[in-house]
């Protein structure tokens, strides 16, 4: 027995004091870390809010449009058509005349070539075609008259939305003083109104902002994603199952694995070039078509789906596999009955994330011609079409003021779809997890 304290006993004497000091430092460190964390989250949220704010601020107006109330007299003499079934006569019909006579009746005081032209420019330059369609659909209206709301020109719409500064000199405005006074008188009579812009959701693309809609792009996106989903989900899941459960662990599978990971990092435009070279030039699939877009995006999303499906399969506990095999299940039965259902939420999440990426993808689609101006709404995956992000890109390039708002409007729609897809991912995840 020695009187000397050993190291542990000596430590016991100073332990509390030292620990207090150390604890303080530890807590301070933890606090600091939390503050950093909160700061970075705030920063992220701020950027998100800024982004969404600008888009909503700029895009909200695209969901409204202006209309002018006019009395249209379907006078056969004005149109120059007596028989609505006669193709030849229809070819020469003057639909524009319907609008100009109606405007002349509404504003008889306007005279002079230039003034008349300004007056006629109040309504959309392609409103005449909706009048034609209306009359052809209801031929009995020929010779009668009715009051209807006609879409206003986008410049007039801008005035209604308060986007035009009336104090700047007339020469620097795209709208004349005469037009302003006409608008004011219409407004005083309640003959001009703003309403929800259904055209934006029901029409295809157009050179005229007030007639341009995103339905074509929406349907194009739908067909493209449909093709992508139908191809990439089964192929990706099958590849993941094969690689995880059946493939022997050797050099070849290692090489495949590395290459799949590499593919996930290949810039998407490369897939577009590949699609152009293979699907269009070799297989002669139609240009600008959602099928080709879908094929290209399938190539792009496959790595994402395979990688996430493989990790979902890996996460299935080995004890479940052993239980199934121990009961005499074949490997296929083990996979189908136990592994796949348990891995499904992870696979679906990966797939939807891949789909969301595909929905927002522009570059590869430019390469295969989905960037063309297409006014018609595609009727199937083989028709020429464009997609939402490409529509955004196209509109953002146009000079008219109204297209700036439309660009933001299209982005909002795109973001809406992305949000829906992500919610769907969360929902599916919850739903499949509930069944244990």
């Amino acid at each position: 027995m020695t009187n000397q304290l050993n190291a542990i006993e000596r430590l016991a004497e100073v332990k509390q004091e030292r620990m207090q000091k150390n604890l303080k430092a530890r807590y301070a460190k933890e606090k600091r870390f939390q503050v950093y964390g909160i700061m970075s989250i705030c920063l992220g949220m701020a950027f998100l809010a800024m982004l969404l704010g600008t888009i909503f601020y700029g895009g909200a107006s695209s969901f409204m449009t202006s209309e002018i109330k006019l009395t249209i007299n379907y006078d056969p003499d004005v149109i120059g058509v007596t028989d609505l079934t006669d193709e030849d006569e229809l070819k020469w019909a003057d639909w524009r005349g319907l609008l100009s006579t109606s405007l002349a009746e509404r504003f008889p005081e306007v005279s002079g070539r230039s003034a008349v032209r300004q007056r006629n420019a109040l309504v959309s330059s392609i409103a005449e075609y909706s009048l034609r369609d209306r009359l052809l659909a209801n031929p009995e209206k020929l010779g009668t008259s009715e009051e209807i709301w006609i879409v206003a020109d986008d410049e007039i719409d801008a005035v209604m939305k308060g986007q035009v500064d009336r104090t700047v000199p007339e020469s620097e405005r795209r709208i004349t003083d005469l037009q302003l006074s006409l608008i004011d008188s219409l407004e005083a009579e309640g003959e001009i109104r703003q309403k929800f812009n259904t055209t934006f959701f029901t029409a295809g693309d157009s050179r005229e902002p007030e007639q341009a809609g995103i339905r074509g792009a929406m349907i194009g996106s739908f067909y493209t994603l449909l093709v992508t989903l139908l191809l990439s989900f089964p192929i990706g899941v099958a590849a993941a199952i094969y690689l995880e459960e059946f493939a022997p662990q050797n050099r070849l599978t290692e090489v495949i694995e590395v290459n799949i990971n590499n593919l996930a990092a290949v810039p998407s435009i490369v897939f577009g070039l590949l699609g152009l070279a293979v699907f269009i030039n070799v297989f002669h699939l139609p240009r600008s078509a959602p099928v080709v877009g879908g094929l290209v995006l399938t190539l792009m999303t496959l790595p994402t789906i395979i990688i996430s499906s493989r990790s979902a399969i890996k996460a299935v506990p080995p004890s479940i596999r052993e239980a199934a095999l121990g009961l005499g299940a074949s490997k296929m039965q083990m996979v189908m009955h136990h592994v796949l259902p348990l891995a499904m939420p992870g696979m679906l999440t990966g797939t939807i994330i891949g789909m969301a990426q595909a929905l927002g993808e522009t570059a590869p689609l430019l390469m295969i011609g989905m960037v063309a101006f297409i006014a018609d709404i595609p009727g199937g995956p083989l028709d020429p079409a464009t997609v939402l992000p490409v529509q955004v890109y196209l509109w953002s390039d146009l000079p008219e003021r109204a297209f700036v708002a439309k660009t933001s409007g299209a982005i909002m729609v795109l973001l809406g779809f992305l949000a829906i897809m992500n919610l769907l991912a969360v929902y599916l995840r919850k739903k499949f997890e509930k069944t244990w």
Partner: protein, 278 residues
């Protein structure tokens, strides 16, 4: 040549020539193994094991950790096939059929030699579906009523019927650990196997649940042949009629359980059961 031939091993197995006791049975053998070697890659885990398992007997396998009990047990229903690097040499017969024969179908084999694992591993499905799974995949039943009957009988034999009969459609994962293990036993016996292999079936359970499973094993031995790996010598003594002692991949001694525990012949066996190592 194996990587196991180090000095320590050489020392321990100095003078060890072959298994002490009677590893083989004259008749009445359900499973026989002859000269079984098992390798994990280059490393040999089991060395030339000859052992018979008799009809309706409970054979306990004991031995220090890492001696190869699980490995040996898993060769008996070819669960080792699932490990890529694992190779098995030697002969293993079940009722006269060579189970490593090309003609032997593993699916069929595992329906004849069932397995209960160390950790209860019910499927994340209902209690009913867990038990019905085996009969379903093997196409053993044609009518729902028949399946119901099988499920009920299996649960009764596993003495868990009274606890679950009102909640057959509820998730099996909601049962307690001991209940889950009895459910796994019910699931195994629902395909009416000839042999049941159990790898430390009670190691995750408390004493009461363990006692119930031990009782169950005694009852099951009336209908089934059971090979059980255990770390508890008391358990081996309570449930088994014969005991096999493994050490570093060798089958050191086999004999009637009471003899092994009262009068072991080999020094290693004696050291182990008297608690000198293991």
């Amino acid at each position: 040549m194996t990587t196991n031939t180090n000095d320590e091993l050489a020392q321990i197995f100095e003078g060890w020539s072959s298994t002490v006791g009677k590893p083989t049975l004259k008749d009445n053998a359900r499973m026989t193994t002859r000269g079984v070697d098992v390798f994990y890659g280059e490393k040999q885990a089991i060395f030339g094991v000859d052992l018979d398992i008799g009809k309706n007997e409970v054979l306990a396998m004991i031995g220090p950790s890492g001696c190869g009990k699980s490995t040996f047990l898993r060769t008996l229903n070819r669960m080792n096939d699932t490990i890529d690097i694992c190779r098995v040499k030697g002969d293993i017969h079940l009722d006269g059929d060579n189970i490593y024969d090309k003609k032997m179908d593993v699916v069929n084999l595992r329906a004849r030699v069932g397995m209960v694992f160390q950790k209860p591993n019910p499927f994340p499905k209902s209690i009913y579906d867990n038990v019905a799974y085996g009969p379903r995949i093997h196409g053993l039943v044609t009518r729902k009523a028949e399946l119901d009957e099988i499920v009920e009988t299996a649960l009764q034999k596993a003495s868990i019927w009274n606890e679950v009969k009102d909640r057959l459609d509820q998730p099996a994962t909601g049962l307690s650990g001991g209940q889950q293990q009895r459910l796994c036993i019910a699931r195994t016996i629902a395909v009416s196997p000839e042999v049941i292999l159990m790898d430390e079936p009670c190691s995750a359970l408390d004493p009461i649940a363990t006692a119930r499973i031990e009782e169950l094993i005694a009852e099951l031995s009336e209908n089934f042949t059971i090979a059980i790996v255990t770390h508890s010598m008391q358990q081996a003594a309570r449930v088994s009629s014969r005991t096999a002692y493994f050490h570093l991949g060798r089958l050191v001694e086999v004999g009637a359980t009471d003899k092994i525990f009262t009068a072991p012949e080999h020094r290693l066996t004696e050291d182990y059961i008297t608690g000198r190592f293991g």
